[in-house]
Symmetry: D2
Subunit: 179 residues, 4 copies
């Protein structure tokens, strides 16, 4: 399970439209992160923009979010201790990161994509996962958009053209009974 760009100072253009959507996902996502972290059969990976600072590690990127304009949207979804954390430099979680390597070493075949922005980083990451033949699962209540219409179109593209399972937080992790 991948958590994308949730450590955000929300000081950019379009931040207002985005935070309105993030407000709705932060609860379900925080809960899902907790469940994923406790599961031994789920790899939880945070991939977050480094906001152009190549000296920044997890602490710095966390601090940026916590000292930003909406710490209430950041604190509940901070990465749990020991959780894999990869800084990224562009929109896709695969571009310029070791994510593909990590996933292959772990034998991961299915990606659960969460975070922001549905019609940007989430869509682009879905695509990069799809061309690499990962199965995709996107819990609709754990991804936030800026533009409602583009966010909806992005989910339809993932579903129709990338075979993604558009689902919910409640159903996106395989049942523990199935293990």
């Amino acid at each position: 399970m991948i958590v994308i760009d949730m450590l955000n100072p929300y000081d950019h253009q379009d931040a207002e439209a985005l935070t309105a959507s993030v407000e709705r996902i932060v609860g379900p996502l925080a809960d899902l992160v907790g469940r994923a972290h406790r599961r031994e059969d789920v790899d939880l990976v945070y991939v977050n923009d480094n906001h152009g600072d190549f000296a920044a590690g997890r602490e710095d990127i966390e601090a940026l979010g916590r000292k930003g304009r909406r710490p209430d949207l950041v604190e509940p979804v901070l990465p749990p201790p020991g959780c894999a954390f990869l800084p990224k430099v562009r929109h896709s979680v695969f571009f310029g990161t070791a994510l593909d390597y990590l996933l292959r070493r772990q034998g991961v075949e299915t990606l659960v994509l969460t975070g922001q922005v549905t019609e940007q980083c989430v869509l682009y990451s879905a695509l990069d996962g799809y061309v690499r033949h990962y199965a995709l699962r996107v819990p609709r209540d754990c991804v936030a958009h800026i533009h409602t219409d583009l966010g909806d179109a992005a989910l339809r593209m993932m579903e129709r053209n990338m075979g993604a399972d558009i689902t919910t937080a409640a159903r996106c992790l395989p049942s523990e009974d199935d293990r």
Copy 2:
């Protein structure tokens, strides 16, 4: 200028919706290809799916299209002799190809994206160009879609989120007088 996946046998699912759209672009695109080919300041590059055949080169891929169900949509836009031709294996023109290398060696800074499918390979290629900091130009009358709504959304995504110039065949090449 990149021509994407126009060498197509049109025997796949969704081919009918696609060919209806391709019928409308094949004229303007053929004309644009001709102009780009004659221009010394424009690099014309065909990037086309190899349809899973790793032994296939340009001739084989051309033959596939010419012997397919709609040769009338293939013949007018065959690559001119001597034109760069890169087989690809997945949707994005950058994935598993030397395109980025070629563009950098040529000093290309702007991509003109044409071909099919607007909401799939064209969108994914636009994204991969955008994360690599190429400027994007998409002539609306030279890209074909399967689903009208998704094609429209894809163009809006490119315009709004990737800074793409959504334009027309008539205006997408820099004026020769400007050189």
Copy 3:
């Protein structure tokens, strides 16, 4: 099994030192190519420099070698019909090609590297295979060098630092009885 850069016009600097070495491998390599091609459990892939011509496909690259200074070193090792063929643009067979994608789709886990130049393209390709966790096998009588000392050092590097099995043409394919 990968055949690297054997379609060569041999008109470059250092060609003389190289051809002296190629003369010794062309026999064993031609035989090995034949055996690999007949085996259903071996994927034979030619990866060859496009010599800077992005319009060149297999036929053009073959023609370059056949019309070069040493067609006698090219003809015996031409790719069999239907064999996978990937043009490359730089030294490593992985750089700017779909090779990694092809190998993963085929479920390949071991690379047999043959061709030229031991201390350049073969070494660099070995490295790129090694970081991607492929097992390596290099038949010493099927790789050609320019500098004897660097060629030897390259083989020692592959053996010591990349876990490569430095072997011979006779032993580099798994026994057909083992299948």
Copy 4:
């Protein structure tokens, strides 16, 4: 200027042969790092193995080295505050990292490679830089080897086949007067 893998606990196989070599470079390298850090026209980038821990950032990787068997070889070459730091997962500094992206954004054209191990990570990184058309400079007194013969061969390969300037710490940065 790139500093490779100097944050090392030195608890692996071959560590003894390596530390004997590192002892000789740590002085010149520490001095060179200081000079590079003070220069505004030099980008100093640390790229260091994450030792398989994808949760590890700079502090964790530093701590691993400082608590290892040879903190005296680590402390003098710790990254200066604010210095770019990229964890890597395999031998080459380019594999699975944002280094190429960072270098291009900064307009870097020449790489000064330092650190360890000459015949492994340094050689492999040199190669990956070379295929991407960066000019290479390697100060011989700032790279450490495990095997003397392979280290020497690696330097000869870089010089002869990758056009690298094999130089010294004293001469590897452009004169400040030339700016």
